[in-house]
Each structure stands twice: as structure tokens, then as C-alpha cells.
Point group: C2
């Protein structure tokens, strides 16, 4: 599995064979079944995950007990509750597999050791997080610019495969729809 991560890192920085072996020794490979939990809201967050294959969603429990999805992560994305990961504090989000998902996992402690041995990985993470934050800037723009229906249209146009892949109730939650409303909009866009 680690070859996926190595290939992703090599898009940003160079790595020789020795560094690759060192890097690989720091990650744990895990496979989660559909709906299995990677991180539970309320638990201490020690780990971050690189998605090798599959898809996960980030969510939290609303006061009314409904699970609200705020993000997804697909292949080649990193996911965690990054505030809790950085501070070693209690997670304010859960992470759950949308489908069978293979990940590489590293704890904050092991990452510190890895970055001591391979400080050049900071250049990779600098760019990864800059890009993630840039995507957030753009998402805040979309949220203020588009109606919910226009957001659905935008997703359908730009991420058609993603829309096929994610269960409708999760997509509805992410877009702030009721499942019924999403179903109505889908029918409208199909007809």
C-alpha cells in the first residue's frame, strides 16, 4: 500500500530508496469495512490517515442527535480532526468509511520522530496543507455564492464520479439538504 503514499510524496519532493524504506516503516496499514469507524468524536485523537483506496466522511453529532457530514476524503487525501491531532486533544469529529477503505496511518508521536529523521517531509506537508486550506477558502466562497440547489449542480458538474460513489443520505447531509429534498432535486436534474 505504501507505494501510493510514496508516489504522492514524490510529486512534491524527491526521495531515494533508503528514505522510502525509512518512511514506509513509520506507517501502519489498515483496512476498514464500509461504515467502520476510524475516529470517534469524543475520543482522544492521536492519528492521521492517508487514504490509499476508498472514501471516508468527517461528521459530528448535532444537538438533535442527527449525524452531520462536513467533509469527505478520497484517494491521496489526508484526513483527521487536525485541531485534535495537533493538540492531542479530544476529537470534535468522527471519521467513518463510506465504502471499504485502505489507509496508511501515523500517530502524532511517530510523525514527530519521522519528521526529526526526514525533515524534508515538512516541505511535502507544507504544500499538502496549503492546498487543503486553499480548497477551504474556495469552499467558503461556494457556500456564500450558491444556493443549495446550485451547490448540487456544481458538484454534479465538477465531481460526477464522486456523486455516483457517495450514498445519497451522506451527500444530502453534506449539502445541508433533507434526503427527500435531494431526491426531488435529482429527479428534476434527470428529467
Amino acid at each position: 500500500m505504501t507505494e501510493h503514499l510514496v508516489a504522492h510524496i514524490k510529486k512534491f519532493i524527491s526521495l531515494d530508496a533508503e528514505k522510502i524504506r525509512l518512511l514506509e516503516s513509520f506507517f501502519e496499514q489498515r483496512t476498514y469495512r464500509k461504515k467502520e469507524v476510524l475516529l470517534s468524536e469524543g475520543d482522544r485523537c492521536y492519528e492521521k490517515f492517508f487514504i490509499v483506496s476508498g472514501c471516508v466522511h468527517l461528521s459530528y453529532l448535532k444537538q438533535n442527535g442527527i449525524e452531520q457530514t462536513t467533509d469527505f476524503a478520497l484517494e491521496n487525501w489526508w484526513i483527521s480532526d487536525f485541531m485534535a491531532f495537533q493538540n492531542g486533544s479530544v476529537a470534535q469529529f468522527s471519521i467513518r468509511a463510506v465504502e471499504k477503505t485502505e489507509v496508511l496511518c501515523i500517530s502524532a508521536d511517530r510523525q514527530r520522530k519521522l519528521l526529526d529523521l526526514m525533515p524534508e517531509l515538512n516541505a511535502y506537508f507544507h504544500l499538502v496543507f496549503q492546498r487543503a486550506f486553499a480548497a477551504s477558502q474556495f469552499r467558503f466562497r461556494l457556500l456564500s455564492e450558491f444556493s443549495k440547489e446550485d451547490l448540487y449542480r456544481h458538484f454534479k458538474q465538477h465531481f460526477p464520479e464522486f456523486l455516483q460513489r457517495v450514498p445519497q443520505y451522506l451527500l444530502a447531509s453534506f449539502l445541508g439538504f433533507t434526503p427527500e429534498y435531494l431526491s426531488e432535486i435529482r429527479k428534476k436534474h434527470l428529467s
Copy 2:
């Protein structure tokens, strides 16, 4: 001005006197008057800014010609259109001073040279962007959890000084209110 940036970096990584002089030589100091533009939507984005003092807002023009504010940056924050900065492409946001603002500015080209000479700065930017992205994760949670009025209450409780500092029309735009609605809510919360 550079002592502010040096102090901020030193919270994350160590820097000796020689490195500090090198670092300082890469930044340009600028002062913007209230409402002056740091970056214009539609222009190519070459620069990112470290706020030494003051406050700026990030905004874009909606189709109806109204300026929509999507973010603010205060002292010790980095701001740019980071997608455009990373790709050297056209900015999809403007950045404007809310009040008199002192910044340290670096272009993408100069940053590349600086990071070649001082790769350890990547560790600083890794943590800065991880934290910024973590704050975005939390903001998406707030946006889905709270009504607009509750968002105002949340900001008032957690960032009272910020609320005093920012003009009401910008705060209204950021929260998705009309200025009139914000004015009503403020009266309600004062009474």
C-alpha cells in the same frame, strides 16, 4: 517589523541570529491605509502576506455586484488567495485593509529561494497551514450547526474584541446577514 514574524516563527522552530538576518532580507515591509487593496480579484496573485498589525478581509464580487467577505486576517496570520499563490494563477479573491495595516510580504518566487536556503521553514509553514486548515474544519462545523443569529452570538462570546474592531457592514457580509438584520440582532443582544 520583521521582529513580529521572527517571534511568531520561533514559537514553532528555533532560529539563530544568522538565519534571522537571512529571513528578514527576503521580506518586503508595506503599510496599507484603511480600505487599500493588497490583492485584486482577477489579477495574477504572486504574493502572500504576514499581518504585523491591523486587519484585512478576503472578499469576492458576487454576480449581483455585491462584495462578499469570506474571511478576515489579524496580527500574526498569513493571508493570500492560496490557490492562486500556489499556482501563480489569477486571484478569485480580493484582499483589502479593514484598518491601517502593516504587513510583511513575500512573492512565491522569493519564497522558493528562501525555502531552498532555509528548508527548516517548511516545518513552520506545515504547522501554520495545518492549524489554518483545522480552523476551517471547525468553521464548517459551526456553519452547519448554528443559525446565523447563533453564529453572531458565538463570535460575540469568543471574539469580543474582533467584533468591536470590524465595521458592521463587513461583519454582516461575513455572517451572511443584511446590515439591517445585523443591526436588529445587535439591538436585541444589547437589550
